[in-house]
Symmetry: C2
């Protein structure tokens, strides 16, 4: 099989002597697929060389690490990559699929965007050409995510012998949102994805894709089969990641700050779709309404830096910092800090938060799946309660065991947090056990098998 | 029949001697229905007394004007009315149905919103009670628009003998947007509208309503019949409004400023959904790309003040003023002002613009119908070209005769404006004639008859 994704299984870093060392790449798709594809002779992973060191390593012909994945990294033009990744993928398609546009103002498709779109097409062309040139006859090709939505149609034209699946890890926008795109963009994206079998984390996004494709291509247009298949963390991999001195140290540091108080945790990228500000507003309302909780609870927001090349993300970070500061200014006492805002890029810290939390708040405005909602229950050691947005794909699987959050309703969110904090030990135990079962129900291996089976139709 | 709408057929103004004079109300629904309901003994119009003078006139028992519509005006509590109208109707439902929320930030459903929602319910209750108390057995009731979406279910419960239609003049949001509302709101709105026959300006909004109702109420929920029926201006009424000295004076004033240049006109409320800023950006690009047009064209933006009690509207007005100023700063010469920004609340001025325009730009991001797109061709005397957004309901009827605008794509919008400005006289004539025919195809009387017929099922 050939896996095609923008991010690859490793990143290279330049050593002092001019050689390069490989490190594992980051992100949910990489974490899920790495262990499955390692040491498989029949699997190739095509990905972009992301940064300068990656490009230099590829151009220098650095071999991929032994015992790892057979990878082909593409040394793309940096300017074209930026147009593809920052402007079109993250600046437009991400916002579109997550419903984040402030439509009176954005998007504005101007001449600069038309050039960026050419960059998007060009990068998709490079990925497609790498597959067209290298794939054995009749091979199965698993194309990942919205950055590479044009690859399926390019493959259908250049190599009709291949079996192609495209899997989307984000939500997919509905038919009134897809009309926001210029027609040349909407038509290219929908006709490409309609040319193959497409997968989504939930039936909700699959349905939205089909409706959008028919909106753009016409009611009678042929649209390839769709399927819904999500994946959770690999429990063994997650357990191994937690059983490290770094995580132990972070747990100890957190315990020292929290003491015997109850701990609400959120763990996210600093990302507009994650709804971080309303989370603080709900917590503020919780403290206002429940005097008994003051000094008895801490909210740790563990937020990794994200997409800081986009001005929207820097603006949102300011709003998040202000919202956190407002809560602390309003409620803090001499020995109680109600909100801990931790913006380090530190995976051990994030895992420690999941381990120690009494309540995990996952309240995105929209989310393709949300892996944290599945990792949290597996990592947690305190029968923690999951407060989960009904707009996250994971909610479809977990809704019986979590407390449901309506992400735009801070009154309802505050009530869910309160219910979680006062829940009896017995109910916490029952729910936590169910969450653990559900979180293990779809291991990455099964998800990969589903894609392979769907590709063969 | 009983017509129920928030705005009524007249407004009262207090005279110096303490008595009240009645003046015709404003708005598309009022203009359409007034001539049809006047002098009809079998018609009653239930509406709110909007301002202080209206309330005072109603409380003083002022009779409605003779020869007019038999109206029942409700003197609602001003605070409750503000919650109903500003906070819920204009601040939430308008934004929702037009897709205007910046979801990372707004809406935020807090405790203040819960109180406002009670105000919305209470005002709907007042309207419903007025009908329940006054309607003859088996009467037909035509409820108008999103401000009164709960009235149908209240009538179904209180007076099951009545025949009720609810007609929506805005777009209706789709199923992923309706999930933004708190569940108690979404459920109340959808179940009420599903309890009667509902009308919309186009099948697109009817389809969106049905999908939203099933999303909220369940796939198997019963949803009443829907129908699509739009209306255009009454040609005779419009002609009479134009044939006045005030309009002549405004035409002369406009001619003096524009001279022999080509004139692009837009005529809108100062409203986020109207997409005024991108219109100026497209015009700026037009002047940049076509040197020959400089000094040869003027863009008159005729913008009535709107909803200035909402901070979003004041912020948007600033952005509009800045965008207009940028074009003038960039291109103006000693005897050419590229943009005329006219913010007077002056109907004669707006009609004069429609009469004199060579190109009418109507580029909303979303619009239930857009009456200007239908009035413009009837008022115009120069075979003017209509550049119309495909997101306006009127586009469904006019798309063969207008030039289609993709409202988010300023490159495409600039190209449409250019095509309009250089179009041959022959093609302009053909298109203008077709537009006039289409604009007269659905007079208000036919629209009213459709509602009455649908109510009787």
């Amino acid at each position: 099989m050939i896996v095609v994704s923008n991010r690859g299984p490793f990143r290279f870093a330049r050593n002092d002597d001019g050689t390069f060392s490989a490190h594992r790449g980051s992100g949910g798709v990489v974490s899920a697929l790495m262990p499955l594809l390692a040491n498989r002779e029949d699997a190739t992973w095509v990905a972009a060389a992301i940064g300068e060191d990656d490009r230099a390593a590829v151009l220098a012909g650095t071999p991929t690490p032994t015992g790892g994945v057979h990878a082909k990294l593409l040394a793309l033009d940096p300017t074209t990559s930026r147009l593809h990744y920052d402007v079109v993928s993250n600046g437009v398609l991400w916002f579109l699929h997550h419903g984040l546009f402030d439509l009176a103002r954005r998007p504005r498709f101007d001449r600069r965007f038309r050039e960026a779109w050419e960059g998007y097409v060009s990068v998709n062309r490079s990925f497609a050409d790498a597959v067209i040139d290298g794939a054995p006859e009749g091979e199965t090709v698993l194309v990942q995510d919205y950055q590479l939505a044009l690859v399926p149609q390019m493959l259908a034209q250049g190599r009709p012998d291949l079996h192609v699946v495209h899997f989307t890890h984000t939500p997919f926008c509905g038919p009134s949102s897809v009309r926001v795109l210029p027609e040349y963009v909407a038509h290219s994206l929908c006709s490409s994805m309609a040319s193959c079998t497409t997968g989504f984390h939930t039936e909700r996004w699959a349905r939205a894709f089909r409706a959008s494709a028919h909106e753009v291509l016409g009611e009678d247009a042929g649209v390839g089969p769709t399927f819904a298949a999500s994946f959770g963390p690999d429990p063994a991999v997650l357990a191994a990641e937690i059983a490290t001195p770094e995580v132990d140290a972070e747990i100890a540091a957190l315990e020292a700050r929290v003491g015997d108080r109850q701990l609400i945790v959120r763990s996210d990228r600093m990302e507009l779709s994650k709804n971080i500000v309303r989370g603080f507003q709900a917590y503020d309302l919780l403290l206002e309404e429940h005097e008994k909780l003051r000094e008895r609870v801490v909210f740790a927001a563990l937020l990794n830096p994200s997409r800081e090349s986009l001005p929207e993300y820097l603006a949102y970070r300011n709003e998040v910092e202000q919202a956190a500061a407002r809560v602390n200014e309003r409620w803090a006492t001499s020995d109680w800090e109600p909100v801990i805002l931790d913006q380090r890029d530190n995976y051990a810290r994030s895992l420690a938060g999941l381990v120690r939390s009494d309540v995990l708040l996952v309240n995105p405005v929209r989310d393709g799946l949300n892996l944290i909602a599945l990792e949290g229950p597996l990592a947690n050691r305190r029968d923690g309660v999951l407060c989960l947005s009904r707009e996250a794909g994971a909610h479809d699987e977990l809704h019986h065991a979590c407390l449901t959050v309506q992400p735009f309703d801070v009154v309802q969110t505050a009530a869910a947090l309160h219910e979680a904090l006062v829940m009896s030990a017995a109910e916490r135990g029952t729910r936590a056990a169910e969450l653990r079962t559900l979180a293990q129900a779809n291991p990455p291996a099964a998800w990969l098998e589903t894609q392979l089976r769907q590709a063969r139709g």
